[in-house]
């Protein structure tokens, strides 16, 4: 009963706290849809302008040969307006008139191609502003020119009786991947991308939530210190461990609300922002990249045991980060101090562990460096994920247990600090102490 009362107190105080309510609950619900809406609107506007706008190109054909004329005809087929220039030209004047690009065919363009040599063509793109609209316009011109060059290649191949398709790609590779004892009929890059996105994607999102949990748990203690309510709480007939547990539980509940808010906000962002991408494939290859993951039909990289171990690993990492948050809250002087410290205390070990585990084989590191890495609790979390991805479940559980031991150590230190008078006397802050006059 007393625990329920304490949890109620924690939840009400934390949820009504402006920094938590706005930062954790409301901000993701407002921020992501707003960004998605703006992104969607920008893309729509850019696409609409790109679709309706007739591109004007300026051409200076100094060659006036067969192949330059062939290319110009092919360019014209792409529904563009062409302005022909004779002699020298002023780019400033041309581009002021709204010309998207200026193309110059030098003398001997046709001659060089006829002689079997590479010929040059000079293209000056008009970039008015560094915006998505400019990118669309540039991509369109570039696409038109690429199609014209391809047509010229096909014409030359036909004239010379050459099989262009064969010459450009004489070898066809059938890529297979040997993974965890199975041969898969897919290129390894596709397989690795799929595994990375499904196995590492979740922990990375979880880490955001985890970092949030640390901030909340640190804030819950910081609030007690700032409001000077801690002295009363510490004289009540309830164990310090119970006080800590209620703070952790309340932080978890708020983190879950935050995660839900984050999920809803981010979902709306994705719907708003990327529903437009499919119509803009010339602009971005993103949708094709996305299709790779969904259309490969690869078997799921994790079986049910793997998923359970992965979830367990993430849960332990959440507890670890929360325990760091509690420790920071105990050490810090107030809410501001705890929020400043918690970022440093969690992200500083988290990022090196993530990058080093992703790019370096820790077992091959020299002794002092490997020891340093092993002393970082997040190393074991990312190693566990590595093991899960490669199906080494026993090793994954072992690494998670080490993460758990770190969590326990932090909790013991926190409880030790919380149970004694250090809680009242300890004051750690990143800010400079005010000078006493």
């Amino acid at each position: 009963m007393s625990l329920t009362a304490l949890i109620y107190k924690e939840l009400k105080e934390l949820l009504m706290e402006k920094t938590i309510l706005i930062g954790v609950v409301l901000m993701p619900l407002l921020l992501f849809p707003t960004i998605g809406g703006i992104f969607s609107f920008t893309m729509m506007e850019a696409a609409r302008t790109g679709e309706t706008e007739i591109i004007t190109l300026a051409v200076n054909d100094l060659d006036e040969g067969e192949y330059s004329k062939f290319l110009i005809d092919k360019i014209r087929e792409s529904n563009v307006q062409l302005i022909f220039i004779r002699g020298s030209s002023n780019l400033n004047e041309l581009f002021d008139k709204g010309v998207a690009a200026f193309i110059e065919f030098p003398i001997e363009f046709t001659g060089k191609i006829s002689a079997g040599q590479k010929a040059k063509i000079y293209v000056f793109y008009n970039v008015k502003t560094v915006k998505i609209g400019s990118l669309i316009s540039i991509s369109k011109v570039s696409g038109i020119l690429s199609r014209a060059y391809q047509s010229l290649s096909e014409k030359l191949a036909e004239e010379r009786g050459v099989d262009l398709e064969f010459l450009s790609k004489p070898i066809e590779e059938e890529s297979n991947t040997f993974y965890r004892g199975d041969v898969l009929n897919y290129p390894p890059t596709v397989m690795v991308n799929t595994v990375l996105s499904s196995v590492y994607g979740l922990p990375l999102v979880a880490l955001i939530v985890v970092a949030l949990t640390a901030t909340i748990s640190a804030t819950s203690i910081g609030l007690e210190k700032e409001a000077k309510t801690l002295e009363i709480l510490l004289t009540l007939p309830i164990s310090r461990l119970k006080i800590l547990l209620t703070k952790m539980l309340a932080s978890t509940i708020i983190a879950l609300i935050g995660m839900f808010s984050f999920g809803v906000g981010f979902g709306i962002y994705l719907i708003l922002a990327f529903s437009r991408i499919s119509g803009l494939q010339e602009v971005s290859n993103m949708s094709e990249d996305m299709d790779v993951f969904t259309n490969t039909g690869l078997p799921p990289p994790l079986n049910s045991t793997g998923v359970i171990i992965l979830m367990f690993t993430i849960f332990i990492a959440m507890l670890l980060t929360m325990s760091i948050g509690i420790l920071v809250g105990v050490l810090a002087e107030d809410v501001r101090g705890s929020q400043q410290l918690v970022g440093a205390a969690t992200f500083l070990p988290m990022f090196p562990a993530f990058f080093l585990t992703a790019f370096i084989n820790l077992d091959e590191l020299a002794f002092p460096a490997s020891l340093l890495m092993m002393l970082n609790p997040y190393t074991h979390f990312f190693r566990a994920i590595d093991y899960v991805a490669t199906g080494k479940y026993l090793e994954a559980v072992s690494a998670t247990m080490v993460t758990g031991l770190f969590t326990l150590a932090f909790l013991i230190i926190s409880a030790w600090l919380f149970s004694g008078e250090r809680l009242i006397t300890l004051k750690v802050s990143l800010r400079k102490k005010k000078e006493v006059s």
């Binding site: 009362a5 304490l6 164990s239």
Partner: protein, 241 residues
């Protein structure tokens, strides 16, 4: 019966001793006052009694239970009011009283009666259902006094109980404390800078300086001993020595 027995307590922060072989006793049904200049060690003494700080040497027994060895038991029989205490700004006064009652082990009818008693002595009326963040300094102090008294603890530890209260409410709170001790046969240790308050409330007073008690006794008896008109005069004479 001795309600509070402070036995040769030493306490230091850093290299400085704040309490030096402090010893005194408080009987059941007695109000005991701790007075002294700033930094004398009054708040540290009360914090040790309230189990927040631990003595470096010596011990304190509350109803025969050591604050060092039987901390949890002691917390069940004391009620502490710190001098500089804040409120949970999003909880209402009533919610705060109820949560405290629940943590102190009160249930059902007992809890209801305690909360109603707390509401009544706080004198906040309908505002008891408003968030405590909206309370004035005086209202915050009154809800804290109500919290301290509502659980009917046998030992009260009060650090500047009327701090921040206007004259009318200060008089009301003093009377509350006096009546409480009488009705409950409770013991009370009060720290205060207000000599009038100490004279009105306390059966015995200890003047503490540099972590040790230098004068102890009944207020009237001390005044006679120092040939002073009131405790304030005694205080000035002793501190200037």
């Amino acid at each position: 019966m001795v309600a509070v027995n402070v036995v040769d307590v030493w306490k230091k922060f850093g290299k400085r001793y704040v309490l030096k072989r402090l010893r005194f006793k408080v009987e059941e049904g007695e109000v005991y006052g701790l007075v002294g200049p700033n930094g004398a060690g009054k708040t540290t003494t009360l914090r040790i009694l309230a189990t927040i700080l631990k003595p470096d040497k010596g011990d304190v027994y509350i109803l025969e239970k050591s604050v060092v060895k039987h901390t949890n038991h002691v917390r069940r029989i004391i009620s502490y009011l710190p001098e500089d205490v804040g409120v949970y700004k999003h909880l209402t006064g009533r919610e705060f009283l109820k949560i405290n009652g629940l943590i102190q082990g009160l249930r059902d009818r007992g809890l209801e009666e305690a909360v109603e008693y707390g509401v009544e002595i706080s004198g906040l009326g309908e505002l008891v259902d408003a968030p405590m963040g909206s309370y004035s300094k005086g209202m915050r102090r009154r809800i804290m006094v109500a919290r301290t008294l509502m659980s009917r603890s046998r030992v009260l530890i009060l650090d500047e109980p009327t701090s921040g209260l206007d004259v009318e409410h200060a008089v009301y709170v003093r009377r509350l404390i006096k009546d409480y001790v009488k009705q409950m046969n409770a013991s009370c240790i009060v720290s205060s800078h207000n000599m009038l308050e100490v004279e009105y409330l306390c059966d015995r007073v200890a003047l503490i300086k540099d972590g040790s008690i230098i004068v102890e006794g009944n207020p009237k008896q001390i005044e006679r001993e120092y040939d002073a008109e009131n405790l304030e005069e005694v205080f000035i004479k002793v501190v200037r020595k």
